[in-house]
Amino acid sequence: MPEEHAHIIPYRTFLLVWVALLVLTGLTIRAAQFHFGALNVWIALGIATLKSSLVVAVFMHMKYEQPLFKLTLLSALAILAIFVGMTFLDVLYRS
């Protein structure tokens, strides 16, 4: 039996996260009914990011992983952010 991973996450933790995810889904549907203009997309993205953080941290156990995993996750997200950032630098500021 591997010595790492000794931590067994209780069912209750998962159920709480699931409830939080449902509440956030309700919130994102509700928020879409108001017209905030361009802000709508940012609210949707913000809630989606919060939901995915919960999934990654608890459902995918990232919270309990070694620093190597967390650092790699951060670098992958940084690479994605660079792709997005460079694309929009071109798209939004092309004269």
Binding site: I8, F14, V17, T25, A32, A44, F59, L80, L92
Partner: protein, 201 residues
């Protein structure tokens, strides 16, 4: 399993995560396409997006979130020695995958019935922005749907391993990795749902 087999849990999980990062970049590319065209055709995106059925998208969100819960709980069940509960939870996940795909089938059928599918004559008559929206909608949800099917197959396969005892309370990394894949499928949908189905109603 024999004791000679060297098991590297960290390596196995890390490999899975590296694969998932490539998946994130793959779908990331599709979301960049969405973002670029949203910036170019904001009005058309709202017009096209409001034609998608929030109920289909919402129902599938509930189905996927619940399926993710089942997978997460199945690992706890297996490690606590509750093999039958674990198999039941995984069976529930595969059932959720089936419900998701049935929903998707009806959703796409309705759209195709209305002449909205890539390359259709009706789509060509639409505004360029609307056409782009529906094309990337089919591309993104289609690729995601393929992932749902693959995830269901991988989880079913893992269920066989659990039944035969190859995956057990002391050796569960295969279930762990299959679960990670399934959660990724859920993660992608968490972004697809608001961006495609909720864009201004």
């Amino acid at each position: 399993m024999s004791g000679h087999l060297h098991k590297d849990y960290t390596g196995a999980k890390f490999g899975m995560w590296l694969f998932l990062f490539t998946e994130v970049l793959l779908f990331g590319g599709l979301f960049i396409l969405y973002g670029v065209y949203l910036a170019r055709y904001p009005k058309e995106f709202v017009m096209a997006g409001s034609q998608l059925n929030v109920w289909f998208g919402g129902a599938n969100t509930l189905v996927l979130l619940t399926s993710s819960l089942f997978v997460a709980m199945s690992i706890t069940a297996l490690r606590r020695g509750a093999k039958r509960l674990c198999l039941g939870l995984l069976g529930g996940t595969v059932a959720c995958a089936a419900i998701f795909m049935i929903n998707k089938f009806f959703e796409w059928s309705a759209k195709i019935h209305h002449g909205i599918y890539p390359g259709s004559a009706h789509l060509k008559e639409m505004l360029p922005g609307e056409m782009v929206f529906f094309n990337i909608y089919y591309l993104t949800t289609g690729l995601h749907g393929i992932h749902v099917v693959i995830g269901a197959i991988v989880l079913s396969w893992t269920m066989v391993f659990i039944k035969t005892g190859r995956v057990n309370a002391g050796d569960w990394v295969i279930l762990e990795n299959a679960g990670l894949y399934w959660h990724l499928v859920d993660l992608i949908w968490i972004f697809i749902f608001p961006l495609y189905y909720l864009i201004l109603h």
